[in-house]
Amino acid sequence: MLLKQTGLTLLGQVDSSLQGSDSSKLAEGAVQALVGLMIVFTALILLSLFIAALPRVLAMLSTVWPEVDEPAANTSHTDSLVADDGAVLAAIGYVLHTEFQRQLETQDSSGQNS
């Protein structure tokens, strides 16, 4: 019932009546174009109003359900990435260890030389 009152149904009725002369066909086409544009505007105006209201609704909601930073960031990592993270850390650790060892050996040898 509600749908029958929308512009969409009106548009359909106009289309089915496209039987007359060219001028009436054009007149009906103009109505179709106008109603179609109005429907697009209605949808996007409602979308715009929803977007405008959303921060306020969420602000109220956050008093009972506070938003946590990065709530699911970790779960977006795949297993392989987590494994890779470990591997990268191990590699960095190995390089640092090797570098420190090399520096210590250099200091020792320079101490012995002096």
């Binding site: 969409l8 174009a33 544009l37 429907i39 505007f41 929803f50 405008a52 959303l54 977006s76």
Partner: protein, 374 residues
């Protein structure tokens, strides 16, 4: 010798028509423009090569074109003919689209609606030129500047015009940097082009997660015909914003959209067989498409100026031109034209808001036309 003579009679050198030659040249021009001018290369290269492939004349009994039942090309064309590829492309677009700028400035959504005036005026223009209502609806959607939407609607309403509509839509999308700037400059003053807009606010993760589901419900309750396109668009966006399906989002916005783009572009190109494509109707469609695109651009710019009559924080009217949904090209054009006046004015982020709203708007317009005209 007779065998050789018979064979020569089946070669392209003998059976090639002027129409085939013209289409092959058009295909080469597409590839040339994509490579040298960087005009939508991801689309023009597959379409151009497809046009060349589709216009090599073969013997009638070999059945190799997209229109021959059982041919390999006909299977590739299936996704175009039945509107399978466009929703898959929308899935990828959704997975790569960041709606943050739109969420931070909801007023700009209206510019995406205003640009759809091009769709409906062209629909009327096509009726005036003598096209039937279904064909007029399919032609009008070219003004949405959205190739997948144009293909989807043409496959539903006017399959006979599909290749002409698809080529027109993609050609004009590629020509955004040429078509839009003169209209934008003509309709704005220098002072208007210099307007700087407030930086967008930070949008919370929760807003971004809620938006795709809510926006889908709002849009499709009003225009149920847009369920398929918007369903896939917002599904793709939910994959991105939910933060728990990053792998799926990554696939949708990279490998999957690339595969579908290749198949869609090539199949559309291959469908431009001279006999089907080089008609008076195609010329009219190209003319209407250009008109549609120009009206859509003007509609967005003029509506931004109209909104400025009531707003304290003015919108740079150039941003209105991004209401056509050629993402992100029209937003880039806005940035380029804006920076010609003021090199320190960054309009790209602001222009992305009507740009993505335009995607939603053109899908709704397609849904409305489909619902009304079937």
């Amino acid at each position: 010798m007779e065998i050789l003579t018979d064979f020569f009679g089946t070669t392209g050198f003998v059976t090639l028509t002027w129409g085939n030659l013209i289409m092959i040249l058009i295909g080469i021009v597409f590839i040339f423009l994509a490579i040298t001018k960087d005009y939508e290369p991801l689309l023009l290269v597959p379409i151009g090569m497809g046009a060349i492939v589709g216009n090599i004349p073969v013997a009638a009994d070999m059945g190799m074109s997209v229109y021959d039942e059982g041919s390999v090309l006909s299977y590739l064309y299936f996704g175009v003919e039945y509107g399978v590829y466009p929703p898959l492309i929308f899935l990828g677009i959704g997975a790569m689209t960041d709606f943050s700028t739109m969420l931070s400035n909801p007023k700009l959504v209206l510019l995406g609606a205003a640009a759809q005036i091009g769709v409906f005026l062209t629909f009327f223009g096509a009726l005036w030129l003598g096209f039937g209502p279904k064909e007029a609806g399919a032609i009008g959607i070219i003004g949405g500047a959205d190739g997948p939407t144009a293909i989807f609607l043409a496959s539903k309403l006017a399959e006979n015009l599909l290749s002409a509509i698809a080529i027109a839509a993609y050609s004009y999308m590629a020509l955004v940097p040429i078509i839009q700037p003169p209209i934008m400059k003509l309709l704005t003053t220098r002072e208007e082009r210099l307007i700087r807009m407030k930086p967008p606010r930070k949008v919370s993760k929760r807003e971004k997660m809620i938006f795709p589901v809510a926006a889908f419900l709002i849009s499709t309750m009003i225009a149920p015909g847009a369920v398929v396109l918007l369903g896939m668009l917002f599904f793709g966006n939910l994959l991105k914003e939910s933060l728990v399906t990053e792998r799926l989002a990554q696939t949708a916005r990279t490998a999957m959209i690339d595969i579908v783009t290749i198949l869609l572009g090539f199949a559309v190109g291959a469908s431009t067989r001279a006999g089907n494509f080089l008609t008076q109707e195609s010329l009219q469609i190209f003319g209407l498409g250009a008109l549609s695109f120009a009206i859509a651009t003007a509609g967005g710019v003029l509506f931004a100026k109209f909104m400025n009559l009531f707003l304290t924080e003015k919108i740079n009217p150039l941003v209105g031109a991004a209401g056509v949904s050629a993402v992100p090209d029209s937003a880039r054009v806005v940035q380029m034209v804006g920076q010609q006046e003021d090199p320190h004015n960054f309009l790209l982020m602001h222009a992305m808001a009507p740009n993505v709203a335009g995607v939603v708007g053109s899908a709704i317009a397609a849904g409305v036309l489909w619902s009304a005209l079937t």
